[in-house]
Subunit: 139 residues, 2 copies
């Protein structure tokens, strides 16, 4: 596997509260998001919290190509997700959009990080791109 | 749990090759890194790959405060890690530094993302900071 990958960090706002507490539904959406990204699921782990408020969920799907994570705050209708997939054949942005729709998000912000970029000195770097720059068509 | 969190995305270069293939050693370092970050481990999942080259490891520790992930490329002496911890009492940077040392990294680059920042319109945003800006002492 090439070291190059794209890591999308995304805040989802205005989500459906019920979707953010349902751990089995979230697990299904995360596995489906991996398929949408053209990635392969290797492991999945989810944890439901029972604080004084409404129970949030944290979970991660480990992929052959890296991972997808989610953390939910149902009472805020907010979820923090990140999708990191290596290689150039995968589509982490499509996975983010799929999750946004699955959770009923009304708004989101995304930042893209291109990771594992080999440098001449044998070191590896990353580059941060806005959603606009990352998704602009190549000229 | 407050929605605010800090997410450190880090490339580790020049790591010790042996450290990047040893899944049990990596699992121990990740759990120790959570302790260093003042975070609490809830779940841990690791997967070792057996490609044609040297076997890399992917793994995630789910925390009460979010997660720590790692993906290793032993033949490149490279590891991609990210540490995301919510709240203001945790220290994701300390966890990154701990992992860099545990894996024998010679160089690293880090980007900090402050996540889950509530906006006036009920939406949530994030802000990207360089390592230099993120670690500058408050004036």
């Amino acid at each position: 596997m090439d070291t190059f990958g794209r890591h999308v960090v995304c805040e989802l706002s205005g989500c459906d509260m019920g979707s953010l507490v349902d751990v089995e539904s979230i697990r299904g959406a995360m596995v489906d998001a991996a398929r949408v990204a053209k990635a392969e699921v290797r492991e999945a782990v989810f944890h439901q919290f029972f604080p004084q408020g409404i129970a949030g969920v944290s979970g991660v799907v480990v992929l052959s190509e890296s991972h997808i994570s989610i953390h939910t705050w149902p009472e805020r209708k907010y979820a923090a997700i990140d999708v990191y997939t290596c290689g150039t054949q995968t589509d982490p942005h499509a996975a983010c959009e799929y999750l946004a729709k699955a959770l009923g998000a009304l708004n989101w912000v995304m930042t893209f990080i291109e990771r594992g970029i080999p440098q001449a000195n044998g070191q590896y770097a990353h580059v941060v791109l806005s959603e606009q720059d990352a998704l602009a068509p190549a000229i």
